[in-house]
């Protein structure tokens, strides 16, 4: 229990410390230490959950079960590894004069703030607080997106702000509707109307019409944050213009959290509706996102932008998987959340180094990384291979499950899935290959890059591809049971 509080409090404290100390030279160390300790407490929390099962805090505000514990762990982990990367990266940015002391303070403070809001969103039991945290995550990052104060970054920041703001308001409307449905059936005077544990217990009794309506609002709302087409437009802009560590966290974690919220609501809506409406909607959005993102990968000139489209594509896949909803697909979707966030954050870290090496994010000017700095080149290549779903990396496993589940339940959707995958792969790889291989331009210089986070991430993804550890399999299975009614083990 204390571990949970500590996990939440540490980043919160960090916000204030770094708001004052963010411009100092020790800031990166403080940031890293905070993140590491947070990760350690998250680990303790995970152990606790593993030992005793789900935890409900006194006051029922916080709740950790098999579904979110691994996401919390993942969050803390990626937060930590990205902090390792972010130190030298931001130093380099400061050295070339792209950020000043004030913005450094803002950056570090908001880094912690971002982590806090995400951890809060994951661990809260209250659906209202969930909304507040997700909105808070937007607010924490919106200034980071426009950190560089260029035309493009301000444009990206503004679009991010408005689109996500408007989108997330709809999610609030959905939440209100859920509350509205809940107060009908819960005993009068109870304050539990937004507690997920309570709602889940009574899910089957709630009014179907209201929940269907609510789900539409929630889907459009949180879907905006997930990056589902056609609500995705902020995503490539925000990812490509902000500092790269932010892109790594946005892509690796924030999208996951929005999807997490959506899936939590799906768990409530499904028993009440008794039909597959929520699943069908999610499948539709998933497929659309997947296809459109795959096609748009062919139109990219900017490396970070390209990988952000790849994130849309993968979020689409996950949404699709949860939409299908059988145990196989659900398990695959849950697994995909982990492997995608590990891989994608690793890629963004590498991309950060690559763009420093080339001095630009324009892909046409990044060439022959493997010659200039082999580790960065290989990191980028292997990361992309992993994200493209090649074994022995974990993405392969989850995509395999998704595919077989699709063929089993919705065979007619398999061909578009196949085509979409091929199109997306082509788009990604045709741009990537010349960046990694070939001969570099004369002025391309190696930079001081710490590739350990990347290799740790990829090693983990590799591990998940070869064998899923028993603990994780148990948690994923629990979540699968909650979502799909039966597990796979």
């Amino acid at each position: 229990m204390n571990a949970l509080y500590a996990t939440l409090l540490l980043p919160l404290v960090g916000v204030f410390i770094l708001a004052f100390a963010g411009h100092r030279r020790q800031a990166k160390t403080i940031n890293l230490v905070l993140c590491t300790v947070t990760f350690a407490t998250a680990l303790l929390l995970a152990l606790e959950v593993f030992r005793d099962g789900a935890i409900l805090s006194t006051g029922k505000l916080l709740y950790v079960d098999g579904f979110n514990v691994y996401l919390i762990l993942l969050n803390a982990f990626v937060g930590m590894t990205t902090a390792i990367f972010s130190g030298p990266y931001m130093e380099h940015e400061a050295a070339i004069g792209r950020v000043d002391a004030v913005r450094m303070r803002l950056y570090y403070s908001m880094y912690q703030g971002f982590l806090f809001t995400m951890l809060m969103a994951l661990s809260t039991n209250n659906l209202g607080i969930l909304w507040v945290s997700v909105e808070g995550a937007t607010l924490a990052t919106v200034l980071l997106v426009s950190l560089y104060r260029t035309h493009e970054s301000i444009e990206a920041g503004w679009k991010y702000f408005i689109i996500c703001g408007v989108g997330i308001s709809q999610a609030l409307f959905g939440t209100i509707l859920v509350y509205f449905a809940a107060v009908k059936i819960l005993p009068p005077g109870a304050e539990d109307g937004l507690l997920w544990t309570e709602l889940h217990r009574h899910a089957a009794d709630m009014d179907a019409g209201v929940l269907a309506l609510a789900f539409v609002f929630l889907l459009v709302g949180y879907g905006t944050k997930v990056g589902l087409v056609p609500l995705h437009n902020w995503l490539p802009d925000a990812h490509s213009e902000g500092p790269t560590p932010m892109s790594a966290i946005l892509s690796g974690l924030l999208l996951n959290i929005a999807l997490y919220a959506l899936v939590r609501f799906k768990m409530l809506v499904d028993p009440a509706l008794g039909n597959h409406l929520a699943g069908n909607l999610m499948m539709g959005f998933g497929m659309l996102s997947f296809s459109v993102a795959g096609l748009l990968l062919h139109r990219q000139y900017d490396i970070k932008r390209m990988f952000s489209y790849s994130s849309i594509e993968h979020m689409g896949l996950m949404t699709f998987a949860f939409g299908i909803g059988g145990p196989l697909a659900t398990f695959g979707g849950l697994l995909h959340m982990i492997v995608h966030s590990l891989t994608k954050s690793a890629i963004f870290i590498t991309v950060g180094h690559a763009s420093h090496i080339a001095g630009t994010q324009k892909m046409a000017q990044i060439r022959g990384l493997i010659k200039t700095q082999p580790f960065v080149g290989w990191g980028l290549m292997i990361g992309t291979v992993a994200i493209a779903g090649f074994p022995p990396f974990g993405v392969f496993t989850s995509e395999f499950l998704l595919f077989t589940a699709t063929v089993k339940s919705y065979p007619w959707l398999a061909p578009p899935l196949v085509i979409g995958l091929a199109v997306a792969f082509t788009g990604l790889f045709r741009n990537l290959q010349p960046m990694v291989f070939g001969s570099p331009p004369a002025d391309q210089q190696p930079v001081n890059a710490n590739m350990w986070p990347v290799f740790i991430h990829l090693a983990l993804v590799l591990w998940l591809g070869i064998a899923i550890p028993g603990v994780l399999a148990q948690w994923l299975n629990q979540a699968t049971i909650m979502l799909a009614g039966r597990g796979v083990l």
């Binding site: 507040v132 808070g136 679009k159 408007v166 609030l172 009908k184 109307g193 209201v210 139109r299 990219q300």
Partner: protein, 225 residues
């Protein structure tokens, strides 16, 4: 359900709901920034009143805290901030160009009908006397969105966004007698931060492109130029 069968405060809430809807239309029709801000403050005030009424109807007096928050944020703080910004950015008299005002208004009227159509199943279900108001709040949300879409100036978009927030708040108050307190506070905090951030952005946009016309923020695109 006949309106005559309701108690007077309840009739009052319904009347206020109608007025709030009207204020949304007014927002849509305003062409000058300062009057836009004033209308927004008026909408906030109406919601404040509705909240107070609801507190007395339902007997849930914690709603009064919400009401106070509303009064502070929506009537004083946000409009005040916006006025300040408008003055400092010197755009008080900037005239908003909206496509075809008549068409937008008609569309908004259509949205009200649509909201009614959508909220029909909820109304059938509701035990609360003020259930009709859910239609109104949905309409306010949608019209707020329409406003964000139809306005090009950043300030107007923010006001549209905030009026969506108003609609949400109104929905929470009248349909469920408010959300749990901790959530209310969280939302209020978010809104507060959002307004501050909007202010920051206005300056950035202004310095970068020389105006607050967001249509000129169009560098990031996949279309070949």
């Amino acid at each position: 359900m006949l309106i005559a069968s309701l108690s007077l405060p309840e009739q009052g809430v319904l009347t206020l709901a109608a007025l709030i809807l009207l204020s949304s239309f007014l927002l849509l029709a305003q062409v000058r920034l300062d009057s836009l801000i004033n209308t927004f403050a008026l909408q906030g005030a109406l919601i404040f009143l509705a909240t107070v009424f609801m507190a007395f109807i339902s007997g849930k007096y914690h709603l009064l805290i919400s009401a106070a928050l509303t009064l502070f944020l929506k009537v004083f703080f946000i409009p005040g901030q916006l006025r300040l910004l408008v003055v400092r950015l010197n755009i008080r008299r900037e005239v908003e160009v909206i496509g075809n005002p008549m068409l937008v208004m008609l569309f908004a009227a259509g949205l009200v009908l649509f909201s009614y159509y959508v909220a029909l199943p909820i109304r059938e279900l509701s035990l609360l006397s003020t259930r009709n108001t859910i239609t109104i709040s949905l309409a306010v949300v949608l019209i707020g969105m329409l406003m964000v879409i139809s306005r090009r100036k950043a300030v107007a978009q923010v006001i549209g966004f905030m009026s969506m927030e108003n609609g949400l708040f109104f929905a929470a108050v009248v349909s469920t007698h408010g959300m749990p307190m901790v959530v209310e506070l969280g939302i209020a905090f978010d809104v507060l931060v959002a307004v501050i951030l909007f202010g920051v952005f206005f300056f950035h946009i202004r310095t970068e492109i020389g105006s607050l016309d967001t249509d000129r923020l169009n560098h990031l695109t996949e279309v070949d130029r």
